[in-house]
């Protein structure tokens, strides 16, 4: 049973009332909001692992996802296989790329300042996107897949159902990551390394190896997300940039290391965005809503921390 304080109870009640009212007014706003939230959460959870658990600032997050998306695209095109099959080799490829990136660059700055990690991973992001630009050109690519247009009809309302793959993926990732961090030796080691690397080394944890595996695991997860992402969206070398930004914001909003809050935050943002879009002329306001909500949450949290 979840224990909530008075503030959380009121917030939960208000959220439930709002969702109910939106559902009565325009049910599809909730449907699309949940689908959108799933995508945000699926992209942000690997960052929550790397930034929230082992405290590596990775600005190449979206670009690694982009590499995963291209890998699946090219595998599908070349061998004529479904992206969900091509996802398997992509995960392995992304794991190896994660190890290579960590070993060649991030391992040198992992104990340094966050600013140096920021600049370093920004450089990696540029290298990845420009390399992909040279290989695949800037032309957007999209596989035509009949199942992504699947739909359901309730009364007069038709809506797409394929996009529910994102909330499902996010839920599976959350369960898997929580199990990994709480129940496995490596997961517990990762949490310890994130909290106190020096102390972890003293008690015999191989800190560098732990960092490397977590970074590579995060890259492999991004390979999964990129593969599912490319079934629905067009991909191009710069496609990852905006998702890096959104993931950072979600992890910051959730609080470092708080994986379930990443999902809840995504849900709030997804529903808020789709509700705004449901108003005539609201399409252009969704990005603004995203960042305004994040600023508001961070401000409220800092106010509460000061008053406690």
């Amino acid at each position: 049973m979840l224990k909530m304080n008075r503030f959380q109870q009121i917030a939960a009640l208000l959220a439930a009332i709002c969702i109910g009212m939106i559902f009565l007014w325009r049910p599809t706003a909730i449907v699309y909001g949940v689908q959108r939230a799933g995508l945000y959460a699926a992209v942000a959870l690997p960052m929550a692992l790397v930034l929230g658990i082992v405290h590596i600032v990775n600005l190449a997050h979206g670009e690694i996802m982009m590499v995963g998306a291209y890998s699946t695209y090219f595998l599908s095109r070349t061998f004529g296989i479904d992206p969900y099959l091509a996802l398997i080799p992509t995960v392995l490829v992304l794991y190896v790329i994660g190890v290579a990136i960590y070993k060649s660059t991030i391992s040198r700055s992992v104990t340094g300042s966050e600013l140096s990690q920021l600049i370093l991973t920004f450089g990696i992001a540029m290298v990845l996107s420009q390399t992909m630009n040279l290989i695949a050109t800037s032309q957007p690519r999209k596989l035509s897949l009949s199942y992504v247009s699947s739909s359901a009809q309730i009364g007069e309302i038709s809506f797409g159902t394929y996009e529910f793959v994102f909330p499902v993926l996010a839920a599976l990732m959350l369960i898997g990551m929580t199990y990994f961090l709480r129940k496995t030796k490596l997961g517990k080691a990762a949490t310890a390394v994130g909290q106190n690397p020096r102390g972890s080394a003293v008690i015999g944890i191989n800190v560098q190896r732990t960092y490397m595996i977590i970074f590579a695991l995060s890259s492999a997860l991004l390979g999964v997300v990129g593969s599912v992402f490319m079934t629905k969206m067009s991909i191009f070398p710069m496609v990852g940039g905006s998702y890096t930004m959104k993931s950072f914001c979600l992890v910051a909003m959730a609080g470092i290391g708080n994986l379930p809050m990443v999902v809840i935050g995504s849900l709030v943002l997804g529903i808020a965005e789709s509700t705004i879009q449901a108003f005539p002329g609201g399409g252009g306001w969704s990005s603004l809503v995203f960042f305004v909500l994040i600023i508001a949450v961070i401000l409220v949290r800092s106010f509460r921390e000061k008053t406690v």
Partner: protein, 409 residues
């Protein structure tokens, strides 16, 4: 060992010296080439294929004996879709490469950055891109050395009005009274919406912005639902190629079937036609491979391009790049000199039969003195091909109307 190394070193030096003599001898003995300086965004399909097509024209001219008895050469620099890099490319072509003409171009934003440098050197320029009227304003009047091939945005708009009026007249069953424009929230989309409202003032125009996939968006469901509620005769979207297929997929998912489904991106994804969702989508453009059936020049250009590069030209920037070289080459032949004044006079008299069908001539537009093409074409995806449905003199197929409902596909 040292003696052997020294001997080898002397041998290498002698070889380099001998080669440099031969190289110099060839340059002095042969004619200096006439140089075309091209600037395109090579990472984008428009620039990639535009520059490749221009190179085909250069190769054809050389194979036919060159110009004024001299070979021709194309030097291409990548603008990387950056105004700064585009301007630096013009600077380099004018100074280090010392080119005779400037050709190329795609984006209005990049071209705005290049205009001050172009004005500094005032070399004859044959520009294939940049539709925004702000570019024309920046270029200003009386720049006789500047020739603009691509229609301006107001030319395009007027052309669409003419086209839809003609289609509605010939096919009375096609209704175009009530429009819904879904547009990306950036300058391109908002300008398109404003222009549509102004140009089609006698029709009911509704519109709604969305965040393009190119800007981190890609969820069109809200805007599509609104369009579905309004039941327009024509649904048109103005955004980028990244939005093309996802828009169709989401339209199918929510069962949105407008009688006319029109897409107006600057370029289409290479594999869009392969998708069954592309069937009967209407689009704007200047050229498509289907024109090979009605225009001889188009077929010749197409065959040459496919033979040379083993790929199909997928954008009208390819025949535009090809035409830019030929328009200048024909003027040079007629003038018999590279003297700028004589050449400008000949360029103004141009009547070049382009692969796009139009005979390219130049006349003043709103501001500049030498505007080339003014008309767009209305096309429709049919069986994976872009078929021309207007202008009727170039039409390659009858329009399919109405857009086939998703449930019947």
């Amino acid at each position: 060992m040292k003696k052997v190394l020294r001997f080898l070193g002397v041998l290498v030096l002698m070889a380099v010296f001998t080669m440099s003599i031969f190289a110099t001898g060839e340059a002095e003995g042969g004619e200096e080439p006439i140089k075309f300086g091209g600037v395109w965004p090579l990472g984008d399909i428009t620039g990639d294929q535009g520059s490749k097509a221009a190179q085909i024209a250069i190769d054809e001219i050389n194979a036919a004996g060159g110009l004024l008895g001299r070979p021709v050469e194309l030097i291409v620099i990548d603008s990387e879709l950056s105004p700064e890099k585009g301007a630096a490319a013009i600077e380099r072509l004018a100074t280090i490469e010392d080119v005779d003409f400037f050709v190329g171009g795609m984006s209005s934003g990049v071209h705005l950055g290049q205009i001050p440098t172009l004005k500094k050197y005032r070399k004859i320029t044959m520009w294939t891109g940049a539709a925004s009227h702000t570019v024309e304003e920046a270029m200003g009047p009386n720049q006789e050395w500047y020739f603009h091939l691509h229609p301006w945005d107001y030319n395009q708009g007027a052309s669409y009005v003419e086209g839809w009026d003609a289609i509605a007249e010939r096919y009375p069953e096609i209704k175009t009274d009530r429009w819904f424009l879904a547009y990306e929230e950036g300058p391109f989309g908002t300008a398109s919406f404003a222009a549509t409202k102004a140009l089609f003032a006698d029709r009911e125009i509704y519109g709604e912005p969305f965040q393009s996939a190119a800007a981190g968006g890609g969820d069109y469901t809200a805007v599509l639902e609104r369009a579905k509620e309004l039941e327009p005769d024509v649904f048109i979207w103005a955004a980028w190629e990244a939005d093309a297929l996802p828009l169709m997929e989401q339209s199918k998912a929510i069962d949105f079937n407008p009688p006319l489904y029109v897409g107006a991106p600057p370029g289409w994804p290479a594999d869009f036609g392969e998708s069954p969702l592309a069937e009967n989508v209407t689009l704007y453009g200047m050229w498509a491979p289907s024109l090979n059936n009605v225009i001889d020049n188009s077929k010749q250009f197409y065959d040459n391009y496919v033979t040379t590069y083993n790929e199909e030209p997928a954008t009208y920037f390819a025949p535009l790049g090809y035409s830019a070289i030929y328009v200048i080459a024909e003027a040079v032949e007629r003038a018999g000199t590279l003297d700028q004044e004589a050449l400008i006079a000949e360029l103004k008299k141009s009547k070049y039969q382009s692969p796009m069908g139009e005979i390219i001539t130049f006349s003043p537009s709103n501001i500049i003195s030498n505007q080339g093409i003014r008309k767009q074409k209305i096309l429709q995806w049919q069986n994976g091909m872009q078929e021309v449905i207007w202008p009727f003199e170039y039409s390659t197929a009858e329009p399919v109307y109405p857009f086939k409902p998703w449930k019947e596909r």
